[in-house]
Symmetry: C2
Subunit: 369 residues, 2 copies
């Protein structure tokens, strides 16, 4: 297999605006062409858009507005992990030799239709993702004694990390008391345990080794890819204290990259809700099962930014189609030493975990400098 | 690059039904598992859905309903060439080694939102594809003297071919007089010059060489791929007597497959409207520029089924997300000798041409037995 690089990245501020999706996407693309050593619109073979919006022909529209006439252009949708699905397609095009340079752009508005899980009739009235997060929370509490305070630490830590991320939706920190006292949405999910839908876009360039060296002095390599879909409906999940698709995907990503959890310096993981970060840390091997809450408290106590340095989805916001790409942008910035106040020192190997719909599907990527 | 095969195919009758999209897609998948020598749900690494419907998480829903737990699953959208875009992604996954077996399923209902080109404000009130076809028709008439009768021959031929296609939307033939007398939608596009939106689904299995030989005794090889996007809006097209994206894509597909037009035995081309078949035959080198109409008349006079043996979009119907896959299914059946009454004798090399939105983007594939 040919070596495949990430050679450039761009991102918008995550917020709520009047800007249409197209404009957001273009704003994330602009810095890529402005900052690259050598990259012209004519060099781009592939334009993929990643979104949950009900739009047709969006990749072609973004191509035309960007002055690009690509070979391959289409939109990719898989709810919250649309972004990493489009990145994996870009990897495959470059790796197979069909393309040399792919521009991958994710974006969504805060009112996008991916926020409601309305295809699964077994959910009854419980169509909002809050309900699956509450069921995961209950299961983890029963099995491992996880407390409401444990959950609150995830939120406090990630909101604190987001303060150093100029693109984050939240621009203020919250105390443990703030989170504990925030509105109860279910008996164990509070408002500040949730990632917020918002507007945002993020873009990356995926390309061949030769091309990467023309675009930048610091390419990052995609060395591990794992993906798994267990189901679409929530009823197929058995043990709700764990995420089967994530365990499957991370095993494949470690195997392909020939890395273990001990090699990972910095992580972006999919904290759609507080409970997710705790379960995912366990399922990806960063600690023993049942020790995720303690792991988060230790990170908080030591101000360690290793996990979700940009603030995760909880601190940075969650524009669905952009999220997977934004996670990759963060790890790209970390591994190139450009993460400014968020920089994790000596970060050489990073991991991205991006999932959909109650972890019915997951993507894990290993990136290396 | 690894050799990549098509090893199985399925298709539904194209019609108008009460069936939901999911059911149509499942109906196209069922014969694949029923007929394969050796293929289980567990063998499938990738499920891609191709549709213009406003649906979220459809690939995961189809996976679950089919009993498949794939690595990669998402939906692909690029209007009328969504189908071939998803096939090219499947090719890239297999060729790169990320996957061994991909199931690609295209489908749409007759009321899907891809039928109206409402993103291009420059179109003014002319949002229906009929209007771009009328502009192509006017340009070709001016430059090459193409007549309304020439256009009618495309429709008569393709409706006649569709009589031998049990999956076609139309089940009756039309005389030259019928087409000439059918309702004028513009000054040069009549109702019977148009492909009809309808319900339908089609599915194929794309896989590695080793796997293909387990599934079938007659794999078909994807030897040439060409894709090009010129724009999203129609205003970027200059010479409307020709299709720039098609010329670009066919050149790449011939180059990659090391074939020329003289090697092609059977063709599925994107006759969304009568004028399309004439222009595409010229632009893909089957005849000189300006000779497309004569080429079609000769086919008709000699009952030669080489071009659009299943009746094309005009005879078989046009369920947008299914169309590109349905074209590939036809060429697969032709090259495996299973096209029954439609069989083109001694067909060894086939070509698929699938395009979107006034040929603003095109895909061309070369397939070989």
């Amino acid at each position: 297999m040919k070596r495949v690089a990430i050679a450039a990245a761009g991102i918008t501020k995550f917020n709520k605006t009047e800007k249409p999706l197209d404009s957001l996407m273009l704003s994330s693309i602009r810095p890529i062409f402005e900052n690259a050593k050598d990259l012209e619109q004519n060099d781009v073979d592939v334009v993929l858009t990643s979104t949950n919006a009900n739009r047709n022909y969006l990749a072609n529209i973004i191509s035309e507005l960007s002055g690009i006439k690509p070979k391959i252009s289409h939109s990719v949708e898989s709810l919250c992990n649309s972004g990493t699905n489009s990145l994996v397609s870009a990897y495959a095009y470059v790796s197979s030799g069909l393309a040399d340079v792919a521009l991958v752009v994710g974006g969504d508005k805060s009112d996008n239709p991916g926020l409601v899980l309305n295809w699964d009739m077994a959910r009854g009235e419980y169509v909002h993702p809050i309900f699956w997060s509450s069921m995961f929370t209950s299961a983890h509490m029963r099995k491992y004694g996880t407390s409401l305070e444990d959950l609150a630490y995830v939120s406090v830590k990630n909101h604190k990390n987001a303060l150093d991320n100029p693109y984050a939706y939240f621009e203020k920190s919250f105390s443990l008391e703030d989170v504990m006292a925030s509105k109860n949405l279910t008996e164990n999910v509070r408002l500040l345990d949730c990632s917020m839908p918002c507007d945002g876009a993020a873009a990356i360039v995926v390309c061949s080794e030769d091309r990467a060296k023309k675009i930048t002095d610091t390419p990052i390599w995609i060395s591990g890819i794992g993906q798994k879909t267990i189901s679409a409906s929530f009823t197929k999940n058995n043990d709700l204290s764990s995420m089967e698709s994530t365990k499957n995907a991370v095993a494949d990503a470690y195997r392909m990259s020939n890395k273990t959890v001990d090699d990972i310096d910095v992580v972006e993981l999919h904290d759609a809700f507080s409970i997710c970060e705790i379960i995912e840390l366990e399922d990806m091997g960063f600690c023993q099962k049942g020790q995720g809450a303690k792991f988060v408290r230790d990170l908080y106590d030591t101000s360690d930014k290793m996990i979700n340095p940009r603030g995760g989805l909880i601190g940075a916001g969650h524009p669905l189609g952009a999220t997977g790409i934004a996670q990759v942008v963060e790890i790209y910035q970390q591994l190139t030493g450009n993460a400014e106040k968020r920089q994790v020192s000596d970060a050489k190997t990073g991991l991205v975990h991006n999932m959909s719909a109650g972890s019915t599907s997951s993507t894990v990527l290993v990136l290396e400098s």
